[in-house]
């Protein structure tokens, strides 16, 4: 009977298979009935009617990376918090909830201190230059002078 329990993963595979088949099937089916007359202008990237200049794969601002960095730390912490959260009730019923609560709060607080650091340092500000102008204008002036 041990193999039967894996059957619960069947719907996932079937649904993923259906998804892939649907995408390819619809596009292949559409190939039979839709027009196909490409031209150079059609295949150009849309840039409001102008000829596109250069490639779009240029450098982006680092703030995107900082956001995703904080995200991944939270994501990993959530992977640790989920099993602890799901045994919280069980431990609470046998009277050991306090210990888990303390563990949990310490864990979250360490995480929060990191977020507070990033907040204070302005990593969570999307428009940082604006704040720099307001708060540290004197410092910025010296930078420009140097």
């Amino acid at each position: 009977m041990s193999s039967h329990n894996l059957d619960v993963y069947m719907p996932i595979l079937i649904l993923i298979g259906i998804g892939i088949a649907l995408v390819f099937g619809a596009i292949l089916f559409g190939k039979l009935i839709r027009p196909h007359n490409p031209s150079r202008l059609k295949e150009q990237a849309y840039e409001c009617g102008e000829d596109p200049v250069g490639v779009a794969w240029s450098n982006f601002n680092v703030r995107f990376y900082v956001v995703s960095l904080i995200f991944i730390i939270f994501d990993v912490e959530s992977a640790l918090m989920f099993p602890v959260a799901s045994v919280f009730k069980k431990f609470n019923e046998i009277g050991r909830g306090g210990i888990i609560l303390c563990t949990f709060i310490v864990f979250v607080m360490i995480l929060v201190s990191g977020v507070i650091y990033c907040w204070r340092k302005g990593d969570l500000d999307w428009v940082k230059s604006f704040h720099l102008n307001l708060d540290e204008s004197s410092e910025k002036n010296t930078q420009e002078a140097s």
Binding site: M1, S2, S3, N5, L6, D7, Y9, M10, L13, V55, W57, S58, N59, F60, N61, V62, R63, F64, Y65, V66, S68, L69, I70, F71, I72, I73, D75, V76, E77, S78, A79, L80, F82, P83, V84, A85, S86, V87, K90, F91, I99, I100, T103, V106, F107, I110, L111, S113, G114, V115, Y117, C118, K121, G122, D123, K128, S129, L132, Q143
Partner: protein
Amino acid sequence: MFDSVLFLLSAILIVVGSLGVLFIKENIMHACVALLTALFGVAGAYAVLGADFLAATQLVVYVGGVVILMLFAVMLTGGGAANENKFGIEKIPAMGNVKTYIIAGVNVLVISLVVIKIMANVMQDYKAVALPAYESTVEKLGTLLVTDHVLAFEVSSILLLGALVGAAVIARPIGSTK
């Protein structure tokens, strides 16, 4: 029977994805997607091994987190266009050439022989035991995390704090730290 099917599918994903990471040379973005494939396969292998929580963790952390982080990092470093050595000293393209692949092949061969030898020695003493039935690992993992491994649980939080602060300091835009 279904466990064999699931294992075969995940094995195919792992093999194809790993080979993709090794051999896709044109574009680092494609290599990232190949890594995504391999990691998906690893999640499937965890499911076959009865580690349901780890399979879900693999999906959450890698598919949603690490791969997106890598895609972002590729975009932030020129979208895979920066394949050339800037200084051109050695003239080795960033994605490798025949010479580096030959060196890698020789190294891998030597190391894999050593690993196989060690594994064969260990496996001599292995006796098959009855396999446990598939059951939920979440409660057991949670219990272990707050009883036996509670120190590791808390210390990992500090590790992540360090990673967060360190990476934020390193990646901060240059203008704001000068």
